[in-house]
Symmetry: C2
Subunit: 343 residues, 2 copies
DNA sequence: CTGAAAGCGCTAACAG
DNA sequence: CTGTTAGCGCTTTCAG
């Protein structure tokens, strides 16, 4: 089945290619019966424009790339959804690039792989350094997500991690918790996310005049719930005492809930738990998870707005946007349920 | 910054375009120092091939579309990950199309939107009927996922839903359950998934010589955990007695666990719960969820293999592949924990 | 083994 | 308001 081309339609309708093109694009100045005639030819032949050819001619692809570490991490899948919705609203389609936190894959995102394929990319790097981004990112407009890099040639959208973590601590303190742990620091984690959240955690303790105890900062060997469960289990087994727990993300919190349950520690009675990202995972956990909730919809629309400005010709320095967040209160760290033995 | 083209490299290196192309494509018959010279010009000018132009010339896009109802449904996000991984392994990139179960969006997948954009599409329809798929799907190779349609012009990959549901029932029966409910039938659900699972559920009961009780088939108004929680809450409140529950998917099971917990019903002691899809949501639920586990990796690789055959020229009738599944046993319906009052 | 030239299908000047 | 034509950047016969 040979594809029918614009020229075929033109011939069938007995007009020029330009006229057909005008009809296809709904250009104003076409006489009604000309339009009718052409439209009929289009329908009869089943003509559909070849997007690739259109692209070559216009230089616009109408696509953006979304490069994230893992498609199936709840935070990223939820964010992807909003980005896909927003993109389709403004006429873009999205191609998803899964980097799996692989440095080579991240480099490829900015490097050769997107050449002429997309008009711009929204990129959540995990391993890449700022200088590297600046060096590699040349011809394609980029908006960065997350906390790891601050490039001068790309825009950047994030929430205020330090403040959000502080608020988490504040909430726990307000509920009477004093021995608040942080989960978890991952060895070799190049993202600034953990750093900033840890900083906010410490700041929150300082605000509450609670002395820092380095023993309350738990390390995890990777980003899986399995490992976070192991870290919490070990901590409990080693006799560590804590009545509050701030987690780096909902996956960690999920693993923590699991380990605490196994250890017979009751949440929130014995330990109140705060997650991060406000994902479906935490929404339906048992107990349901209090969690720092970035406004994902706003994140998506802001990122897309910045990207579109760059696509439309803005070439200025990188702009930074902070989008809002909230602390979603649920059962794992509720309001009005102080610990059993308040201090 | 003007893009550097193949012709620029050719001129700089003092050779023809063909030679540059040969080097770019690593064609065998190029003398070593020719290759060196050209490569140097490429590096100096920072040449990167324009993929769009290449496509126009070759007619191959190197991309496939993955059209699914929701990116952030755990089952689809996990499946997407495997498809993305498999695709990248065989040299394809994937563009994700979120239909949101919208009939128009589903039609668009097969219709104009993919024109010349992708070499093929993997499509999980929810609202589209078989005839419609056959009618619309013309020039693009398609592999269908899910249970709703059986097209003659497209391939199809699924698990054996009937058998899987039967096995779920069998497991519950083996643990002493006799009043087994099914959650849930969704009004207006055009997918065959629910039908097949319901059929398997009924078959399983018949196998165990347990009379069918229509009152045990619960209806849900949409596919969210909120609604499934409501359905279960209502059922319990209305005095419905059951000691086992097979859920149409993990999201429903998640909502069910929530509602049962609120109602003071203990899982698995009072009611053993089986989910479907084996997603992260269920893996970390409390209690963790026993779930029908489609082999998502096999599903992804099978779908991609079939699609590639079509892309490579196979034009035969639609083939149907059943991929394997298992019942992953976890806390919500464990082995060796019969109900309190066995019959 | 390398070079020249003809498309791939569409768009956008530029005429008419 | 409609038609002609020259590209977009790459691939790929087909000669040399």
């Amino acid at each position: 089945m040979k594809r029918v081309r614009l020229a075929d339609v033109a011939e069938a309708a007995g007009v020029s290619m330009k006229t057909v093109s005008n009809v296809v694009h709904d250009y104003p100045h076409v006489t009604p019966d000309m339009r009718r005639k052409v439209q009929q030819a289009i329908d009869e032949l089943g003509y559909k424009p070849n997007l690739t050819a259109r692209r070559l001619a216009t230089g616009k692809t109408g696509m953006i790339a979304l490069a994230i570490p893992e498609i199936d991490h709840p935070y990223f899948s939820e964010l992807s959804r909003y980005i896909a919705e927003e993109a389709s609203r403004v006429g873009y389609r999205v191609i998803v690039e899964q980097t799996l936190s692989n440095p080579a894959a991240e480099r490829a995102v900015l490097n050769d792989r997107e050449t002429g394929l997309v008009d711009g990319v929204i990129f959540h790097p995990v391993r890449m350094q700022s200088m590297e981004v600046a060096r590699l990112q040349r011809d394609v407009p980029v908006v960065l997500l997350g906390e790891s890099v601050m490039a001068v040639t790309a825009d950047h959208v994030m929430i205020d991690n330090v403040v959000a973590a502080q608020e988490g601590v504040q909430h726990l303190v307000g509920e009477g918790r004093r021995r608040i742990a942080f989960l978890g620091v991952v060895a070799g984690d190049a993202t600034g996310s953990t750093d900033q959240r840890l900083l906010g955690y410490q700041q929150g303790l300082v605000d509450a005049k609670i002395p820092l105890d380095p023993g309350l900062v738990l390390s995890v060997s990777d980003f899986t719930p399995e490992e976070s469960a192991r870290a919490v289990r070990d901590a409990v087994a080693s006799g560590l005492v804590f009545d509050g727990l701030i987690c780096r993300d909902d996956r960690f919190a999920t693993g923590a809930l699991f380990a605490l349950r196994q250890a017979g520690v009751q949440v929130p009675r014995d330990v109140a738990v705060v997650g991060w990202d406000d994902t479906e995972l935490g929404r339906w956990a048992s107990p349901s998870l209090t969690s720092v909730a970035p406004d994902k919809r706003e994140l998506a629309s802001t990122a897309l707005a910045l990207l579109r400005e760059r696509i439309d010709g803005y070439h200025g320095v990188g702009r930074h946007r902070i989008v809002s967040h909230a602390l979603t209160i649920r059962e794992s760290a509720p309001l009005g349920a102080p610990a059993l033995q308040p201090h």
